[in-house]
Amino acid sequence: MTGLQVYLDNSATTRPYSAVVRAVAEAMEEHYGNPSSLHKMGVEADRVMSRARQAVAASLGAGPGEIVFTGGGSEAINLAIKGALPGRWGKHVVTTAVEHPAVLNACGQLKEQGIQVTVLPVDEQGAVQPGQLREALREDTYLVSVMYVNNEVGTVQPLDEIAEVLADFRRGGRKLLWHVDAVQAYGKLPLRPGELGVDLLSVSAHKAHGPKGVGALYVAPHTQLLPLVAGGGQEHGRRSGTENVPGLAGFGAAAAVIAREARGAAERIFPLKKKLAEGILAAVPGAVLNGPPCRRENLRCAPHIVNLSFPGLRGEILLHSLEERGIYVSTGSACASRKSPGSHVLKAMGVKGELLEGAVRFSLSSLNTEGDIDYAVEQTAAVVQELYALYN
């Protein structure tokens, strides 16, 4: 085993930029006042926070007043889905089968409260068909929640087409909120919720080289939202609780990089992804790519996530074998048991049996290098051959 450490689990979490670490430490050491306090210390903390808010807003092409800071991506998603007010007519919510559990489980809670939920199917690449969304919309639909980039297979949903469908629907004067879970897109793809006509959009700092425990919900102007956390009325009453100033300072630092480089990030990461996917598929006969084909012109293909199945192997064993060689990846789903039901995303795409059991996710970031990828391809090929020899 060489000393090389290759981190390819960036969809789980990312390594914070050093600027982020510095910003967090500085805020903790020097700006520990409560932003709501009236004295100088409070004012300084508040200033740190507003700078962060401006940076996050800029990274989304939004105004600072449209950003609600939360305790992470899942909280932002929950605030969007449970906080969206149905109005008198609203009884119906539409989402998709491949959403993150934060979305699916929040919708499950709505269901328990008597809201009807339609879960749209996806095609074999994990993409939603806008036509099916059009058919699912009803007079009493008040919320649509569709993710931007799928976290397991990297499918980019056709947000432009969805925007058109929703715009048509609203043309009759009907109210409808659109939430986009953009956690996996943030920092990797350009994000302009205002231009797309998105009402609510959630992001998380730690998936984009920021600190854990901070996220944000973009809330378009005039969108009414019921707070989930009641208290001192922070974040314009939408998310009470003393703000996590150090975390937000770090979020701001990450957002500043994103605002500068978002377009460039995809340009840099995509060739690495392509190299990784093609390298492994060429070296390992029988390996199968789950999700959209890896081509630059393919709009459905996110720049950073590769999901591969190795039939006859269990993803978890491959994961640990790669770990032994300093390579960190993830299985399709978090559960490690043989009895585990397998990834809901892969199942929704029609993946079954050995392909479901043998799925592994490689997720990249702009901190990965060509050397990382060469090493990962070479080692994956070697490990898979060894394991095949052992099992067959």
């Binding site: 978890e316 064993i317 994961l319 640990h320 074998s321 790669l322 770990e323 032994e324 559960c335 490690a336 048991s337 043989r338 009895k339 585990s340 052992l390 099992y391």
Partner: protein
């Protein structure tokens, strides 16, 4: 202020000439268990152990209730040898105990005084004391009624050389023998439900345990190892520390997978585990192996399998769960606090290479034949050389 605890220890009181050694071990174990709560004093009076500790009573009682050898423990009052003070102490004790008894309004609360007098200089006999204190309680605590057969509160009064002790609420201990009086054995600890319970049962008979875990990275991961460490941590509640041998099992498993007939893999794997454990036992001065096996539970736990597996070693294998069914084992695991950890999904090496149809009635010649393909000595030494030892200490 120091609180006094009165500890009863049934079985070891019957040990004849060995009794002082058993008592000394129990006192040691008690001191060690209480160490993290700061200073405490442990001493022996005839037939009892008395603990004094400044720590919060709920924590002391919780720790003492998990020390093997203790049958019951009570928070007691230590009083001067003065009748009046003893009566007042008894009243305070009854008040305290009564607060814990749920009674329908208007029903009398039944009690009984049980005085014992080891100090024969004390001017009253035990029956006289029973009458005196009982009368005092009836006069001063309305709603009490004597019941000598099944009282709700037993007020115990012990008259010793220098002090009287009064106590009522008796909290049951785990019983058994003090860990360490029966020597040491090696527990084969997987991540499952059974083996931690087997370890507990062995400790209950006074056996000190060290754990052996067979680890097959990369076929299982760090999470499954951490799960086993956590199981050891729970067991330290009953014994303060457990040494854990993490045996490198990967190469052996690969070799078995490559070279042995599929249906015999489990049998050969278990034979290798027993060989390794027996060698570690020899090195550590352990006198037996302990397993969580229960006859008929899985393929390797038929009598035929056990005989073929056992054949490779000559030290005793204790199987404390042999008389329990799965439900009993689960209940015990829940009671001792290992169940929640055991049912986490991370698998251990036993489940990974499971053949579709493992032999339930392997014959010895088959196993010996299959092992011809293996470099037994090389594999065993290689595995032991890469074994890691960790000390899991009570947190």
């Amino acid at each position: 202020m120091n609180n006094t605890y009165m500890i009863r220890y049934g079985e070891i009181g019957l040990k004849g000439k060995n009794r002082p050694a058993f008592e000394r071990r129990l006192m040691d174990n008690i001191s060690r268990a209480l160490r993290k709560l700061g200073s405490s004093r442990v001493r022996r009076v005839y037939g009892r152990i008395i603990v004094e500790s400044e720590a919060e009573p709920a924590r002391v009682l919780d720790i003492l209730s998990k020390v093997f050898g203790i049958v019951g423990v009570s928070l007691a009052l230590r009083l001067p040898l003065d009748e009046r003070v003893i009566c007042e102490g008894a009243l305070a004790t009854v008040r305290d105990a009564a607060a814990r008894v749920l009674m329908p309004a208007g029903e009398p609360l039944t009690f009984k005084v049980e005085a014992r007098r080891s100090n024969k200089q004390f001017p009253r006999t035990s029956p006289e004391l029973n009458g005196l204190i009982g009368g005092y309680l009836l006069d001063n605590f309305p709603g009490l009624k004597v019941d000598v057969h099944t009282p709700q509160i037993r007020v115990r009064v012990e008259i010793r050389e220098k002090n009287a002790f009064v106590y009522a609420n008796d909290m049951p201990g785990v019983g058994g023998l003090p860990v360490g009086v029966s020597g040491k054995a090696l527990l084969l600890l997987s991540g499952g439900i059974d083996s931690p319970v087997a370890g507990y049962m062995a400790m209950k008979r006074g056996i000190e345990i060290e754990a052996v875990h067979f680890y097959s990275f990369p076929f299982t991961g760090e999470k499954s190892l951490e799960k086993v460490r956590n199981l050891c941590r729970v067991l330290t509640d009953y014994t303060t520390r457990v040494k854990m041998h993490i045996v490198h099992f990967t190469d052996i498993q690969k070799e078995i997978q490559k070279s042995c007939p599929e249906e015999l893999r489990v049998t050969i794997m278990r034979r290798m585990m027993f060989r390794l454990a027996a060698r570690i036992a020899d090195n550590q001065g352990a006198l037996a192996l302990i397993t969580g096996e229960s006859v008929g539970q899985v393929a390797s736990q038929t009598l035929e399998s056990m005989r073929v597996i056992n054949q490779v070693i000559d030290i005793p294998v204790l199987r404390p769960l042999v008389g329990m069914d799965k439900l009993e084992i689960i209940h015990r695991a829940q009671a001792i606090g290992t169940y929640e950890t055991s049912v986490l999904p991370y698998e251990d090496c036993c489940t990974l290479f499971l053949p579709k149809h493992p032999a339930t009635r392997p014959r010895l010649e088959q196993a010996l034949d299959a092992e011809q393909a293996l470099d037994l000595e090389g594999l065993l030494t290689g595995s032991l050389e890469r074994t890691i030892v960790e000390d899991i200490i009570r947190s």
